[in-house]
Symmetry: C2
């Protein structure tokens, strides 16, 4: 169960808005009810264990819950989130447990690909990184979606917690997880259309990743180098980036994945990919059945088949939301580096 | 100048609320004006360069700006902030510049002092930490206020940026800055009053810091050990903690400071402090002239004088706000470890 409350005597109409909770609240937005003291409330439940984002709509204005500290900013503004723990003895895969925890670090660096601008990258190191100074680790590059930045795979995706738990159970290899910033500004070119601009943006992202982020990581951390020890996956926009950059650079990445990917035109890349010799160890695609990007993903899978490119494809329940991305990360990581 | 806008046609009254900006906006809250499209607006300025927090009050409800990504959660809920850059050629001391940047890392650990609960600590390492593997660094323990947590000295205090800039100019020694979480839950004791409980909380914080955080830092990072290489300072509640823990443990900290401190009864500690032999290298106290904690700080300064304890005391302009705490950090750090 979750209890939503808002003290606002002067407002005329308050609704709870949450795509994540739409099923539990019987459609979103859902009206809240005011009592005689001016407290608007709504009780929701039972709710499956998980992390759900929400806003309130107050007299037509969508607001972030002002009395909760659990808020996050993204490209669209800000929102709040509410967390429902797993049942006793059945914690969620993305829930903090009493296992050793890894460290998450923020690095700021100058990016030639971004015109010399300053960019930030989040880096997770596994629990034994600090205690076993002789060990070197494989690296997963983990990309965010269009609404987010390099902080959201930790803040909302709980990538560090999922990794801690998988490593504790021996279900995944200890690995470093690098979460770069996916948005990059390229100077405008007169007369350029949206598609051309997006393509240039992806090229700039690829350049930033390959020429600046990877060298930064590989000179700062104890990593195993080479394609067999590098994986890349992303969600939505980041899924498109992962497929684009990963499949064009199979000499650098042997493990590639995409979650609910905003996958673009890839025929040229797929034709160039000499599958027998590519040495791609894993190409893993997943999407939820209620995702509006489903058609694009099915077309992409058809293209992979036409080109005879080995891959694994998962269609699950769910929409374009964090619940499926956390699930997919928990399925993808155990497949890597083994 | 800053421009505040909110699209909300159905609301009756919208105000900008900002203690930080009260002088610039002619008192807070300040009414915003609605145009025919339903956009509420207020233009403020000129505003001195800085970082200012704010909320909107919409028909009596205080909300976090829903369309800005620059929000933060704290113990009271959430707020937004707006940043005004320094003039051309005159950047603020807390403004990002093209200098090498340090790294900020988040560690999670189990705390016996908190009944085995999980706690988090932020750690800043200076720009050359990763490039000079033989160098060892002194450590500043930097404590937050009652409304905040271990993330706020980076998020709002810009401690990492201030440190980057000071080090680039050679004005401060490169140092590691450790930002622990200052709140700690202690089990309730029946019949205990607020003061007794607060004292027990401070003791638990001291135990967590001395027995768990410092060992974690000193086994994880290349630090110089010993009192001469350890400093501690905090703001508000953290200033009270810094004075309490620091002055009771001068064998562990040779440099102690307090910004706008919520300083409690300290006579016992001051009496026990054998000043000539204490070896305290610096005791630095600062507070703004409009701070409601002024009387408590002046009393504390009087006590220090009575006990003949050497100290430095600064009264500046300003209230109980981040603007003065960033300023004080920029003045305090250059005094350390030299």
């Amino acid at each position: 169960m979750a209890w939503f409350r808002l003290l606002a005597p002067k407002l005329q109409e308050v609704k709870l808005v949450s795509g994540d909770l739409a099923v539990s609240i019987g459609g979103s937005p859902r009206a809240m009810v005011k009592d005689e003291r001016g407290v608007w409330s709504l009780t929701v439940g039972p709710i499956a264990p998980g992390i759900y984002d929400y806003t309130f709509e107050v007299d037509g204005l969508r607001i972030t819950d002002p009395s909760s500290p659990d808020v996050f900013g993204n490209r669209r503004g800000s929102r709040g989130y509410v967390e429902v723990p797993g049942a006793e003895g059945a914690p969620r895969q993305d829930e903090w447990r009493d296992f050793p925890h890894g460290v998450v670090s923020m690095h700021w660096y100058v990016s030639p690909a971004a015109g010399g601008g300053r960019r930030r990258v989040h880096v997770y190191t596994p629990p034994d990184y600090g205690t076993d100074p002789s060990r070197r680790y494989p690296v997963l590059y983990l990309l965010h979606g269009a609404g987010d930045n390099d902080s959201h795979w930790v803040l909302l995706g709980r990538a560090n917690v999922i990794a801690d738990n998988l490593v504790a159970y021996g279900e995944a290899e200890p690995m470093i997880i690098v979460m770069p910033h996916g948005h990059i500004d390229v100077p405008a070119v007169e007369g350029e259309d949206r598609t051309a601009r997006r393509r240039r943006t992806t090229v700039a992202f690829e350049k930033d990743l390959l020429e600046t982020v990877i060298p930064l990581i590989e000179t700062t951390y104890r990593v195993r180098r080479g394609r067999e020890h590098r994986a890349m996956v992303g969600l939505s926009m980041g899924g498109g980036q992962s497929l684009h950059v990963g499949l064009r650079n199979v000499d650098k990445f042997a493990w590639v994945g995409a979650f609910s990917a905003a996958v673009g035109e890839m025929d040229e890349t797929l034709s160039a990919l000499a599958t027998d010799e590519s040495g791609l160890r894993l190409l893993w695609i997943a999407i939820g059945s209620d995702d509006s990007l489903m058609d694009r993903n099915r077309s992409f899978i058809a293209s992979l088949k036409e080109h005879g490119i080995r891959h694994e494809y998962r269609e699950t329940e769910g929409a374009h939301q964090w619940a499926v991305w956390r699930l997919y990360l928990g399925e993808f990581m155990p497949r890597l580096f083994r």
